[in-house]
């Protein structure tokens, strides 16, 4: 396994991808995280997660889970095996603290343009292609809630140039606006659909700007983490569901 790439506030270009991401804490430091872990010269893992709770305790657990995740990828980089192993080793750690963590793991093969997705209790990623938004269907139980990972397996997509993937935490879709309305996945899908053709950083900025418009004047309870990956290099043929 190669280097670990964290890109908070920066733009990453590698593996035929352009990536922009950020994590915006609410009042207290929470347990949101995202990172990119290079596996070999053609494969990169993208992960977004949220460890239960707030403050130092959640932040410490988050670091433990991230460390274990890198180790699980090193041992066996098959995405489903990574999540299963992480649930076994990390789940014990989480249960000791009465906690759990949600996580969405993507594995992108930059040569084949293949994106594999495994989900453990996290909001599923959105895929933008030709102005259409698709919601990944993969579902699974959050890490630490059961001894064995219970999920719907690996979902695969083939991405082409210009396609984009949006990862986010619950703080974004559960953000409150007027009349206790929530920002919600439908509004997110709508703004993502309008980003067809924009680069990854512009997409991220526009989504955050729409969120800010919606939530202006209302205090928020949770961290917001948002990551946009856009294919800029070689793509493969369209597939998936």
């Amino acid at each position: 396994m190669g280097e670990v790439i964290t890109v908070n506030g920066k733009i990453l270009r590698a593996y035929g991808l352009e990536v922009s991401g950020c994590s915006l804490p609410a009042e207290q430091v929470g347990g949101d995280f995202f990172e990119f872990i290079s596996c070999d010269e053609r494969t990169v893992f993208a992960v977004i997660g949220d460890v239960m709770g707030k403050g130092f305790h959640a932040a410490r657990l988050m670091e433990t889970i991230r460390h274990m995740l890198r180790e699980c990828i090193r041992i066996n980089p098959h995405p489903l095996e990574v999540v299963r192993r992480l649930n076994r080793v990390g789940g014990d750690e989480l249960r000791k603290c009465g906690a759990f963590a949600t996580l969405c793991l993507l594995c992108y093969d930059g040569i084949a343009g293949r994106l594999s997705c495994v989900n453990a209790g996290h909001h599923p990623p959105l895929l933008l292609s030709d102005g259409k938004v698709k919601v990944a269907r993969c579902r699974g139980v959050a890490l630490g809630l059961l001894e064995d990972y219970l999920g719907s397996g690996v979902e695969e997509f083939f991405l082409a140039d210009g396609d984009a993937v949006v990862l986010y935490t619950d703080g974004l879709v559960e953000a409150c606006g007027p009349g206790e309305q929530r920002y919600g996945q439908e509004r997110l899908k709508k703004i993502v659909r309008l980003q067809n053709g924009a680069d990854a950083d512009r997409m991220k900025q526009n989504i955050l700007s729409d969120l800010e418009t919606f939530t202006r004047g209302f205090s928020q309870k949770d961290d917001v983490t948002l990551v946009v990956m856009k294919v800029t290099g070689k793509g493969g043929e369209r597939g998936g569901d």
Partner: protein, 103 residues
């Protein structure tokens, strides 16, 4: 958060209103643990927000009561909260606990 307690034969109903989060999760946990009835029902109809600490506490209490041969029932979950719980896999965990209380 407000908790209203209603008793029926052999069971107690805890009606939870407001927001259940990191700041007050222990209040509901203590109320659940204080009960001695065989069935404890948590009525969430008046719940406006729940964070991951609240979800984690409810699941740990479900597990705890199952181990004692008792039941913690969670009812009248508002739709928007039900959607969040589905994402986490909350109901799959409840199913797994029903078939194997020590899961």
């Amino acid at each position: 958060m407000e908790i209203r307690v209603r008793q029926k034969k052999g069971m107690v109903i805890l009606e939870v209103e407001g927001e259940l989060d990191f700041s007050n999760v222990e209040q509901l946990q203590q109320e659940i643990q204080r009960r001695t009835e065989e069935v404890v029902e948590i009525d969430l109809q008046g719940l406006r927000f729940i964070d991951s600490s609240g979800v984690g506490m409810l699941l740990s209490q479900v597990r705890h009561l199952y181990k004692q041969g008792r039941t913690l029932r969670i009812v009248r979950i508002p739709d928007f909260i039900r959607e969040d719980l589905e994402v986490i896999g909350f109901f799959q965990v409840l199913e797994a606990l029903k078939t194997n209380p020590s899961a």
